[in-house]
């Protein structure tokens, strides 16, 4: 704990980073307020009101992440454990599971979810990287037979496994970045998490902004009607530039940071499309209602789910000796 405090450089960089985020949010809040003034404070306006709700929620999310950083690596692991719990609850709620799925679901929530985060806390790479895809995969299928029901067996079993893979396995790769021993980067791994989260979330925000300002051509009308080609290109390009500009908090050179950010942004965008396909199949627009203006926990995290494991393994492959 408090690793960041042991390294003055890491502490200064973390403070500078949060100062920058606070400044950006301040500018966003001001813009939101001016837009609201223009239409009239008492006049309801769906787009601007939603924008302001989103900005307010961002303040809260940054505050929660900042608080977890104060408690060091373990604080971040606990935070992502809770995030996985809320995400899995949203995912399973939207899946029509049946009474005979009870044992598989109880095992997922009460055994697999905590176990995955304990393994990350132990930094046991050999087990946490296969625990859900191998042991979870097999044991959950066995548990699905417990009810004795054979109807839609494969469909039922795969719903629970998908939930665990997306909401627990993929999300847990964010705190798993803490376990990577990178030469010359000791005690600064929290900044790797900050890099991933800032790049992927700013990509979402910038795609939204570019889309709202210049969006003309829909990029995937069936999957996600609000996404446009202009939003995608502008958002990914500017978030990649932001990633390159953040090279000083990473073990990467500027051009490497740009490529990493590009990989994160592309995975995030495609992940958003996949999660949107699942939502639409279930006939809903949002996963939940937890975060004002954004929808559910999974609506905010869909791009993180797909970007985190890829970023983790790219970093591990090239930077861990």
């Amino acid at each position: 704990m408090m690793d960041a405090m042991l390294f003055p450089a890491a502490r200064d960089q973390t403070l500078a980073l949060f100062g920058g985020i606070g400044g950006a949010l301040l500018v966003a809040s001001l813009i939101g307020f001016v837009l609201k003034l223009k239409v009239g404070l008492a006049t309801p306006h769906p787009v601007i009101d939603n924008l302001n709700a989103r900005i307010k929620a961002w303040w809260l999310m940054v505050a929660v992440i900042g608080l977890s950083f104060v408690f060091g690596p373990r604080g971040v692991i606990v935070l992502f454990f809770l995030i996985s719990f809320f995400a899995l609850r949203e995912f399973i709620t939207l899946m029509p599971t049946r009474a005979s799925d009870y044992h598989a679901l109880a095992a997922s929530f009460y055994l697999v979810l905590p176990a995955q985060y304990v393994l990350i806390d132990m930094a046991w790479y050999g087990l946490y990287s296969i625990f859900i895809p191998v042991y979870g995969f097999l044991v959950l299928a066995i548990l699905a037979t417990a009810g004795g029901e054979t109807a839609n067996f494969l469909e039922r079993a795969s719903k629970v496994q998908w939930g665990l893979m997306i909401c627990v396995y993929c999300i847990s790769h964010v705190p798993a970045l803490l376990t990577l021993p990178i030469a010359g980067f000791e005690g600064r791994n929290l900044l790797l998490i900050a890099f991933l989260v800032i790049v992927v979330q700013s990509s979402d925000v910038l795609q939204y902004v570019w889309g709202k300002l210049f969006g003309r051509h829909k990029i995937a009308p069936q999957l996600s009607p609000s996404k446009t080609v202009e939003g995608f290109v502008g958002g990914v390009a500017s978030a990649t530039a932001l990633g390159a500009a953040l090279w000083w908090i990473t073990p990467f050179a500027p051009w490497q940071a740009a490529l990493m950010a590009l990989a994160i942004n592309l995975m995030g965008f495609l992940g958003g499309l996949v999660m949107s396909a699942i939502k639409r199949d279930r006939g809903v627009k949002d996963w939940g209602h937890m975060i004002e203006g954004h929808g559910g926990m999974l609506d905010r995290l869909d791009s993180v789910c797909f970007a985190a494991p890829v970023f983790f393994h790219l970093t591990r492959y090239w930077w861990v000796a």
């Binding site: 719990f85 899995l88 609850r89 399973i92 709620t93 009474a99 009870y102 929530f109 939940g288 209602h289």
Partner: protein, 207 residues
């Protein structure tokens, strides 16, 4: 003191596991005496309704429960009497026990709102069972009381029958528009009107 601590823990748990999201579709949460009538799928139905009410309403709202189940052990007695201040009624019609309707009407006269489950028993299937006549007898005894339909969605998945460990699944509690007994309305008409209101609320939620 111990009872309010229990109430705090139980409502906190219900919220952590189910989200307990209240949707006031047909009325606002006001401090008036009401009879909330809901679909019944699990033992924790009234806990979720109770948890989703604002604290001021929670204090005046009492669940109606069967004494055959709740008076059986010390722990159950403590929970239903001290924590939820439940109105216990005898469902087995023993000769020496008071009429359940009198017990409920007395509680209403003392200033309480009630939570009742007019299907009479837990329903493990989809949909709604026919209503028992008690809801009509309460309405006849106190025709000025509002009856508010309450649809519990998803709660059956949280605690399937026979299971003890609840699953974390998000639930909603929808409150519909209040219903009053019309003058001269027959038992059949009132039962089918209240039941139809609950079915409509379920369909509105699914849409």
């Amino acid at each position: 003191m111990v009872a309010s601590l229990f109430a705090f823990v139980i409502t906190g748990l219900a919220r952590a596991i189910t989200g307990a999201r209240a949707l006031w579709r047909g009325c606002a949460p006001e401090r008036v005496r009401r009879v909330y009538f809901a679909n019944h799928g699990s033992h924790i139905d009234f806990v979720l309704i109770w948890s989703s009410l604002p604290p001021a309403l929670r204090r005046m709202t009492r669940p109606v429960a069967g004494s055959d189940y709740w008076d059986r052990s010390g722990v159950r007695r403590f929970i239903i009497h001290q924590v939820f201040r439940g109105v216990l009624v005898d469902r087995e019609h023993k000769p020496d026990s008071p009429d359940p309707i009198d017990v409920m009407v007395d509680a209403i006269d003392a200033g309480a709102s009630l939570i009742i489950f007019p299907e009479g028993t837990r329903n493990v299937e989809e949909g709604l069972l026919p209503f028992k006549s008690g809801i009509h007898r309460i309405a006849q005894a106190r025709p000025d009381i509002e009856f508010v339909p309450v649809w519990l969605d998803n709660l059956k998945r949280v605690m399937p029958k026979g299971k003890l460990l609840p699953l974390p699944i998000l639930c909603t509690v929808s409150f519909g528009a209040p219903i009053r007994l019309h003058e001269g309305e027959s038992r059949e008409d009132f039962l089918s009107r209240t039941r139809a209101a609950l079915v409509a609320l379920a369909e509105e939620h699914a849409a």
